[in-house]
Symmetry: C2
Subunit: 102 residues, 2 copies
């Protein structure tokens, strides 16, 4: 019986990246600045974490050039949604385990 | 209404350290090798994370020299227990939010 903490994956578990995937779960596709403001991040910090998630195939990034403004849209891939599910499953297990022994 | 991910603290949220605090919640005081095996860590990795938790005042480390063996006992401080509680509270909120429950 392995400890649920063993099943947490740093790519998804890291605080900011977990926040990004949670926001994308609510919004399906979100504008870069929307995510930045929702999680109170700097542009640089958000970019860095989105790059890690993109590299791992968990999010997709698309640029939308309309007029003189470029917007960056981020959405979770199917793999990203499964990864969030797996993370939340392990967290629920960890919480139940802690709750089971007061 | 801030996102629950904003309330996660890296000191406690980091995968290995969350595991250590969860194990200490179950065991009150645990031998170094017990934690290492429960979380499938190397000695070096566990030492490093225990040092971070000790530095933050979340765990207490005591050496017990009996005969020719030295055992290292780790326990959560009161502050460590509160920090784990706060982390689990934020995680529960994050999970409910993803699940679509208020």
């Amino acid at each position: 019986m392995t400890h649920p903490a063993l099943r947490l994956d740093d790519t998804v578990h890291q605080r900011v990246r977990l926040g990004i995937l949670a926001v994308l779960h609510e919004a399906a596709s979100a504008d870069f600045s929307y995510i930045r403001d929702a999680l109170d991040l700097t542009d640089g910090n958000l970019s860095r974490h989105i790059a890690v998630l993109e590299e791992a195939g968990l999010v997709k990034v698309e640029k939308d050039v309309s007029g003189k403004r470029t917007r960056t849209w981020v959405s979770a891939t199917r793999q990203g949604r499964s990864a969030l599910d797996a993370e939340l499953r392990s967290l629920r297990e960890l919480i139940s385990r802690v709750d089971g022994k007061p």
